[in-house]
């Protein structure tokens, strides 16, 4: 019997609000333990939460980007369970009336458009971080993360392969980065993805028994966990075993999932409406205001980039991988650079420099206008492409205008016919052998002579002119 895998995702995103979701404490990852805490996020007696408006704005932006309906009236609820990483022993979350619901998301898999249903996106608060490294019998709790703005996105079980899930997660991350709502840093836990996985015989309509996999630290981990679960579940079914609904943990070192908790032992969270907060009422005007502030989203931007600049699908994809790179590219073109040349330079040499420097395109010294100016210098024959490659690192380091670097280092291309003719005649005299070879029909000997000419001019000779002169002189005599 053939089986197929069915996957739905639960994704937690830490929303990049300046302060935590219910108090004024700074939302910052790298800080000494318990340095961003107050009576509210520590759950001190009598303290009350107040909703962060920026959290609502950014969550609605995510909802709109995922084509969700935005609730005109939504509320917060208390999710009750005891654990030391929760200062109140309940988490303020949303139960039956999420802020965003019934959406969908289109993403590309190998050039094909796929679509996934978005069940809901709801607001909640993050928990503290338990630290069990203190010593035997001692645990510490860092409450800096407690109360950090968290958005939980839940998808429909619409995914059918590990590869498709991987593509969706990357697209979702790209979208969140475009929206500027999260840094999506998986290592720091600001993006956490948990797959719900089940299998069923191909053709069967009913879903199988699902397992939920936790503790996955990367998208490739999600992919591997799905592949592992698919095999495990199919194997069990083929042996005639009955699967149970359970939560399993991903062991990245061994590449396996291990049982954590069954449905029977699941918590009764005793949700009820949070009486300390007033309902969230996002009216049409508020929603519209957020809708108008949304940036162009990745797929649309990629499509437009292809069309507007006559670029290949591949080039457009690389350029629009991040909003910042796409912005850089468009600024460069706006400053006069031909689109294809700008693409080559940005995705080639410039990207390599950025990667080597572990920098970010938003904070490099070389501006899009400077890059356009450099491309302009090649185009008008002032410098050769070779020289351009040489001066780009200088521009990257110093932020100097390309023209200044060219002038300071005397790198202007020699295109003057008489000057070059003198130099080339000299070279022909010095290398009678290759000259003979050429004249006896060995055309490749010309390459050597071009090379010698460039070397003599320290690369400044205009290669086109060198060729012209060589042709002329070699055929002359």
């Amino acid at each position: 019997m053939e089986y197929e895998v069915v996957i739905g995702m639960e994704i937690h995103v830490e929303i990049d609000t300046k302060s935590k979701v219910f108090c004024g404490c700074k939302n910052e990852f790298h800080a000494p333990a318990n340095s961003h805490v107050c009576p509210v996020c520590l759950g001190m007696p009598g303290a009350l939460p107040v909703m962060n408006r920026e959290m609502v704005n950014k969550s609605v932006a995510v909802g709109l980007a995922l084509n969700c309906e935005i609730s005109r009236w939504s509320k917060m609820d208390r999710k009750n369970y005891f654990y030391p990483d929760q200062s109140k022993n309940y988490q303020i979350s949303q139960f039956d009336l999420p802020l965003c619901h019934d959406g969908s998301c289109e993403f590309e898999v190998n050039g094909e458009i796929n679509k996934i249903g978005i069940t809901r996106a709801h607001l909640e608060e993050d928990t503290a971080r338990n630290d069990h490294t203190q010593g035997i019998g001692e645990s510490g709790i860092d409450f800096n993360r407690c109360g950090v703005s968290l958005l939980e996105i839940v998808t429909e079980p619409d995914l059918r392969s590990a590869e498709q899930t991987y593509a969706f997660l990357n697209h979702l991350k790209q979208t969140l980065l475009y929206l500027g709502v999260s840094d999506c840093n998986m290592e720091e836990g600001s993006l956490r993805a948990e797959p719900n996985i089940s299998v069923r015989p191909v053709g069967q309509k009913e879903f199988g028994i699902k397992s939920e996999v936790k503790n996955v630290a990367s998208f490739s981990g999600v992919q591997k966990a799905i592949e592992y679960e698919f095999k495990r579940q199919v194997k069990a079914l083929k042996k005639g075993e009955t699967l149970i609904q359970e939560t399993r943990g991903w062991d990245a070192d061994q590449g396996i999932t291990v049982p954590q908790r069954t449905k029977e032992s699941a918590h009764d969270y005793r949700y009820f409406p949070e009486p300390d907060l007033i309902p969230i009422a996002v009216d049409e005007a508020w929603e519209q205001e957020i809708r108008e502030s949304l940036p162009e989203l990745p797929l649309a931007r990629k499509h437009r980039t292809t069309e507007q600049y006559s670029l290949s699908d591949y080039d457009a994809g690389v350029l629009t991988a991040s909003r910042e790179m796409a912005d850089y590219f468009e600024a460069c073109v706006a400053a006069g650079a031909p689109a294809k040349l700008a693409t080559n330079w940005i995705t080639g040499d410039l990207q390599a420099l950025i990667s080597d420097a572990k920098a970010d395109i938003t904070n490099i010294k070389i501006t899009p206008e400077q890059l356009a100016a450099m491309i302009g210098l090649i185009e008008d024959g002032t410098i050769s492409g070779k020289i351009a490659k040489d001066i780009l690192p200088d521009m990257f380091e110093s932020g100097k205008e390309p023209k200044v670097i060219v002038e300071e280092n005397g790198l202007v291309q020699i295109s003057d016919l008489s000057e070059l003719e003198g130099i080339i005649r000299e070279i022909l005299t010095q290398h009678p052998g290759p000259v003979e070879d050429f004249r006896s029909g060995k055309m490749q000997a010309k390459g050597f002579l071009v090379g010698q000419s460039m070397k003599a001019t320290k690369g400044k000779a205009n290669p086109k002119v060198v060729n012209q002169i060589l042709d002329q002189l070699l055929n002359e005599e």
Binding site: V50, M51, L277
Partner: protein, 489 residues
Amino acid sequence: MSQEIIQKTAHELHDDLRSGATTATALAEAQLAHIDGHDDKVKAYLETWNDEALAQAAAIDDALSKGNDPGLLAGIPIGLKDNLVTTTGTTGCSSQILKGFESPYTATAVQKLYDAGGVMMGKLNMDEFAMGSSTENSSMQKTANPWNLNCVPGGSSGGSAASVAANEAVISIGSDTGGSIRQPAAFCGCVGLKPTYGRVSRYGLIAFASSLDQIGPLTKDVEDSAWALNVLSGKDPHDATSADLPVPDYREALGKDINDITIGLPKEYFTDSLGDDMRQKIETAVDVLKAQGAKVVEVELPHTNHGIAVYYILATAEASANLARFDGVRYGFRHPDAKDVKEMYTMTKSEGFGPEVQRRIMLGTYVLSSGYYDAYYKKAQKVRALIRRDFDQAFEKCDIIATPTTPASAFEFGAKSQDPLEMYLNDIYTTTANLAGVPAISLPCGLTEQQLPAGLQLIGKPFAEADLFRVSHAYEQNRGFDMGHAPIA
């Protein structure tokens, strides 16, 4: 002389302080001496802040001598219920689980009192976590009723009511979740106000039931209640449920006629369960209002008989979550013998919480549990909406609803503590105002045959505290008798 000074009201002392008839220091010293002389019998205070109070009083005197106005309640001795957090002293909710807790911040309402120049005398006893109607559920001490030391002061703000009745504070602050200001005010013969939900910030009030809790003053007369509400009210950015509405000067409502007022008598409150003595007290009080020009009509509050049930479902549900944070992890009592996290939770809570608190946490946990939620919590929410609608409809016919505050006057220690249900019935006339979120006040309306105070409850429209004060003041000024002072005062 000192006996006289501590018997005065805040508005009288306000004038004395400005005329030079007394000083804040003299007043604070007299107040502390009076507490020292009486509280061994009443046991209202859990702790007094002598040094801090005298330092505050000295600062007030200094300001007054320089011609500055240090605020509406400058120099007035004020007592605080033990569930209002303060950076001064400790805040323990009269519970072993929080005993000795030093708060890193001060409740907004208390800060407003400080800002108005109030001199804080200390913390007052209460039923543990405000759960109770007699203050017998305090894990710290038993507070007595100054009118009869064998009787309870009511609860949960029993210490607050007793301190005012015994002249151990000029004003005390309490909290009211289902009657916890009004019932002890009625038992102790003082004026107790539960403002509209949202009128006073709850930030820093240790929550019992968040959707019902409201802070309010217990005072010697109606005018002091209006003065106190002036200070306590207003929007607080730290409390999302505090109302963003202007705060009128409630003092302006006092002394005006009540010819335009219609008083509604809900027939559901005047049934057989109300004793004849108490019924007669209320009827006499209503006659006073009638004589002052108010119209009186009968109104209906048809869902009244569900009030207690709805209240005990919703209040315990919220409490079960609100009290979850007392787990021994971050503050308060942690059982020393616990060997792991689960033991820390169970042993800490089992030993730290008293029996009534444990009973209510279990009740609340039960009504929220999967499979019971719809039958209890959800249904109770629906009935709460009906109770609210009852009031809306009644207020189409009247401006103020008059009822007894309690079915009977104060009872003796131990009389009801063995039967939780009978204890709960003490709140039968008071819980609905919390469920509907409307303001209500209890006024002394004479002494019963047992020589114990009786309480008249007036309930107003949301945020119509000014009307409540106007009618209350008209009653107080014209009731034709002086309540006098409690024997221990």
